[in-house]
Every structure is written in structure tokens, then in C-alpha cells.
């Protein structure tokens, strides 16, 4: 465990060192959140409710979704691809700890920093827009659990995508595709409840909703306590499934690399 703690620290320091990357990413996300905020605002001046969502709920959703999206925002696919090309990856694989564990704890360290920074920014925006009226103790606690599990789901998905980099050099394309896929299907841009019929059904059976939609719905109270429990359980199931899939694919992918020197 001590070994992994060192990686948490390492990830944290890494986050500090590359803060400009993180800040740009966060600002880009933030602009998107602001744009969506005003789009919805103009929509709700014409009608009271859209698919059961009122302006009151939407105001919260936009910002909470932004918070969930910003935590754990740095993808590690590009980093891994670079290490594969250079041959440094072999140093990671030789270390006496699990490769995936190392990645995870490193991300955890960075995520801690990201969470703190985003929380201050979005917390103040949220409070100035919504005030304290919608907050509730139990829901916030459940939200934090769900947010943490959502990070787990996101990590598993990123890990599987990062394995693709063992087969292709196009890490930029892989990263972009993963980002767009998760943004679209996780509810980062629009609540999944607004998806049209068939798509809504499909999304239900995908793991992506656990990343953003589930924690958001728990926080803003669209899910009852019982529903929240069920969806948290679903998140855990997805983490196990994707985790197993990751190990399986990992075994294959590690066999592919061949290196000159290193």
C-alpha cells in the first residue's frame, strides 16, 4: 500500500506541475457549461418544463455536471502512447506493482487537486446561482460516493482505450474519440432523460451514464433514495465488468509490444 501512496503523491505533484494544461481544460469545459446555461435559459423563457426538467433543476444540473466532468479530466492515453513509442513503458511494466494500480493511484492524486480547484470555482458559481435551498445532507453524501464510483468507471473506460494505443500510434484520435463518446453518452452536455426514445433505451445499458448522469441526478434529487442506491449498485457492477475486461485485454495488449532497447 505504501508503494501506491507514493504514486498518489506523484500524481498530485504532476498535477501541480502541469497546472496550465489542467486550467485550460477546465476553462474550456467551463465555457461549454456557461453556453449550455444560457441556451437552456433562453429555452425556458418560452416554456415551463422540458421533458420533466424545469429551469430550477436545469440550473443545478449544468453546474453539477461540469463538476463531475472536470474531476479526473486529464486523460492518460496520450501519455501512455508517448511512453510506448519511446520504449519507456517497459520500465512501468517491470515495476513490482500492478501497472493498472499504478495508473489509478497516480490519477487519484491528480484528481484530488482537480477536485479541490473545480470545487472552489463551481461551488461559488453554484451558490451564487442557486443558493443553499436545494442542498440536503443525505443526498450530498450519496452524491460524493457516486462521484467517486463514477471516477472508477471513467478510469476503467480510459484504461481500455489506452490499451488501443498499443496497436496504433494515433493517440490523439483515440483520446478525442473517447472524450466525445463519454461526453455524449454520460450526460455531460444534456440530461440523458431528454434523449429521444430508442437512444434513451440504448444509453440505459451503457456504462457511460455512471460517470456524470448518475451522480448529478442523485445530487439534484431526480432520483429517490431507493433509485440512488440501485444506480450506485449499477456503477459498482460496471466497474467490476469493465475492470475484468481491462485485465483480459491488457494481457493481450502487453504481448504485442516489441521494443528496441528501451
Amino acid at each position: 500500500m505504501k508503494k501506491y501512496l507514493a504514486y498518489i503523491r506523484c500524481g498530485f505533484l504532476e498535477g501541480c506541475a502541469y497546472r496550465s494544461t489542467f486550467i485550460t481544460g477546465m476553462l474550456a469545459n467551463f465555457i461549454q457549461a456557461v453556453v449550455l446555461y444560457y441556451v437552456w435559459k433562453s429555452i425556458f423563457t418560452y416554456q415551463e418544463a422540458v421533458n420533466g426538467y424545469t429551469w430550477e433543476i436545469m440550473k443545478q444540473y449544468v453546474f453539477v455536471a461540469f463538476l463531475c466532468n472536470s474531476v479526473f479530466s486529464m486523460g492518460f492515453e496520450m501519455n501512455i502512447a508517448e511512453r510506448i513509442v519511446k520504449g519507456d513503458i517497459i520500465l512501468d511494466l517491470l515495476k513490482p506493482l500492478s501497472y493498472r494500480g499504478m495508473l489509478f493511484f497516480r490519477m487519484l492524486g491528480t484528481a484530488g487537486l482537480e477536485f479541490a480547484a473545480t470545487f472552489v470555482l463551481i461551488g461559488s458559481v453554484y451558490l451564487s446561482v442557486n443558493g443553499l435551498q436545494y442542498l440536503s445532507g443525505t443526498r450530498t453524501a450519496l452524491f460524493l460516493i457516486s462521484l467517486f464510483l463514477g471516477m472508477g468507471v471513467k478510469f476503467c473506460i480510459q484504461y481500455i482505450f489506452s490499451l488501443l494505443c498499443f496497436y496504433t500510434d494515433n493517440s490523439y484520435g483515440v483520446t478525442k474519440a473517447r472524450e466525445i463518446l463519454t461526453n455524449f453518452f454520460s450526460g455531460a452536455l444534456i440530461p440523458l432523460a431528454m434523449f429521444p426514445g430508442v437512444l434513451r433505451e440504448i444509453v440505459k445499458y451503457l456504462p457511460f451514464q455512471g460517470i456524470i448522469y448518475t451522480p448529478c441526478c442523485i445530487f439534484i434529487g431526480t432520483f429517490s433514495v431507493e433509485e440512488s442506491m440501485i444506480s450506485i449498485f449499477l456503477q459498482i457492477v460496471w466497474i467490476v465488468v469493465l475492470g475484468l475486461l481491462g485485465s483480459l485485454l491488457g494481457k493481450k495488449a502487453f504481448g504485442v509490444i516489441s521494443m528496441y532497447g528501451g
Binding site: 496550465s20 494544461t21 486550467i23 485550460t24 476553462l27 474550456a28 465555457i31 461549454q32 456557461v34 453556453v35 444560457y38 441556451v39 435559459k41 433562453s42 429555452i43 418560452y46 416554456q47 422540458v50 421533458n51 496504433t168 500510434d169 494515433n170 484520435g173 478525442k176 474519440a177 466525445i180 463518446l181 461526453n183 455524449f184 452536455l189 444534456i190 431528454m194 434523449f195 429521444p196 437512444l199
Partner: protein, 266 residues
């Protein structure tokens, strides 16, 4: 005049060399085509999903929003394909690669603009053209020769304004210490705002992204004018003015920046 003819010839030669260098990444190119199609599809899908729930945003229908999107995407593809070098300035300054350019008897600006090519841009322009075609087909516009010419002029102006935006943001590296200059990413991210009509934003944002970073002149005013929206006539007249202003600013920034440039190499 002959001088400019030579520059254009040189530009074409540089770009042809760039295209040749791409031949070694053939699979990556195909993957990029797929990823771009996929991501633009998702973006348009998002607009469709929003509109499947509601009839209009700020008085604009879905097809009209598609036109805004088409203008933005087209200008983005244009930068990627023709002037992708504008993105590379930051890195070149940091790695002192600029020194190489300074000693050649060709204008530095020309060399910087052709420093890189991104074939994905062509892809984006094709998608954007398709989106525009569909959008214009669904919107009722009485076309005549004047409007067709205006459309082409507007598109060209949108491209120029956006190239200048990236150019100026990248050139800020001349004055910034350190490796990273995130300003150009920031400018690109701001484009997100121009995907929707400007009227939905509060006055402060309208001021910032209408005039300080003139995105309104890339998508909102030209499309609004073509569609005959209220209050866009004056703005459409302002587009050439902003175009010239941005071009002048770009030239000035490059000149000042080069005067200020200290190579980091030894």
C-alpha cells in the same frame, strides 16, 4: 506585385512538400477521417436532441443553428488545412526552431504559416459544406446572384478572422516566458459560444465575444444577415472592417514579436 506572385508560388511549394510528408501516415489518416466524422456527428446530434424537445432557441430554428455551426466548422477546417502553422508558433519559439526561418530569404510569416498541415481540415470543410447545403436547403431564402456572392464573401471573411485570432493568440508567446501558451486553445474553446445566436447571452458576454474576440462576426452576423434576421444588418457591414483590423493587428503582432524575439538556443 511580382513579389506577391512569388510568395504565392512559394506557399504552394511548401504545402506540396507538407502533403508529401503525410504519405507515411496513411492508416492514421483513415482513422482521423473516421474520428472526425464521428465527433462532428455527435456534435450535430446534440443540437438535434435539444431541438427534439423544443421548437426554437432565442428565435432560431434548428436548421438556422446548423448554418452557424457550418460557418464555424468551415473556418476551422480552413485553418487546419491551409494555415495550420499558426498553431505551431508557440512550440517553434520555445524550441528556438524559429532561428532557422530568420536566416532564410523568405518572409518569416509565410514560413510560419506553412510550417504544418493537417489533412483533417479538408475533411472538416467537406462536412461543413454538407451541413451548410442541408441547412440552406431547409431555410427559406430567396437566392439571387447577389446573395450567392455575399455568402462566399462571408465565408472567406469568417476564415480570415479566425486565422487572425489564432495567429494573434499564438504570437503572444513572443512575450510569454515558459513553454506553454494556452491562449490559442482558449480562443478555440470560446468558439463554442458562437454555435448559438448571440442574442441569448447577457450584454457583458455579447461585448466580450462580439467585439473583443470577434466571434460574432464569424458566424452570427453573416448567417443572420443572409437569413434576414433583425438587427444583424449593421453587424454584417462591420465584418470587412473587422477583417482588415484583424489582419493589421496580426501583421503588427508578428513584427513587434520578431523585434522582441530572443532565441533560447545557443
Amino acid at each position: 506585385m511580382q513579389k506577391y506572385g512569388t510568395y504565392i508560388k512559394l506557399y504552394i511549394m511548401f504545402q506540396v512538400q507538407n502533403i508529401k510528408s503525410l504519405a507515411q501516415y496513411r492508416t492514421d489518416f483513415l482513422m482521423m477521417v473516421f474520428f472526425t466524422l464521428f465527433s462532428q456527428g455527435c456534435n450535430l446530434g446534440l443540437i438535434c436532441i435539444i431541438y427534439s424537445n423544443i421548437p426554437q432557441v432565442g428565435g432560431w430554428t434548428m436548421w438556422e443553428i446548423f448554418l452557424l455551426y457550418g460557418f464555424l466548422l468551415f473556418s476551422e477546417g480552413f485553418i487546419n488545412f491551409f494555415f495550420q502553422g499558426a498553431w505551431k508558433i508557440t512550440n517553434m519559439i520555445h524550441m528556438a526552431e524559429l532561428d532557422r526561418f530568420l536566416v532564410r530569404p523568405v518572409p518569416v510569416g509565410l514560413q510560419l504559416l506553412t510550417a504544418k498541415i493537417d489533412f483533417d481540415g479538408l475533411n472538416k470543410m467537406v462536412i461543413a459544406a454538407a451541413v451548410l447545403a442541408v441547412g440552406f436547403g431547409k431555410c427559406e431564402i430567396s437566392w439571387d446572384v447577389k446573395k450567392v456572392i455575399l455568402l462566399l464573401v462571408f465565408l472567406a471573411e469568417a476564415c480570415i478572422i479566425r486565422v487572425c485570432m489564432i495567429w494573434i493568440a499564438s504570437c503572444a508567446s513572443f512575450w510569454m516566458e515558459g513553454k506553454k501558451n494556452s491562449l490559442n486553445y482558449f480562443v478555440i474553446s470560446l468558439g463554442e459560444m458562437a454555435k448559438y445566436p448571440m442574442v441569448i447571452y447577457p450584454p457583458v458576454f455579447q461585448g466580450i465575444f462580439g467585439y473583443l474576440i470577434p466571434y460574432a462576426f464569424v458566424s452570427f452576423y453573416p448567417v443572420g444577415y443572409l437569413l434576414g434576421k433583425e438587427g444583424t444588418g449593421a453587424g454584417a457591414l462591420g465584418i470587412p472592417f473587422f477583417c482588415v483590423l484583424m489582419l493589421a493587428a496580426s501583421c503588427m503582432v508578428l513584427r513587434q514579436g520578431l523585434a522582441n524575439y530572443e532565441s533560447s538556443s545557443y
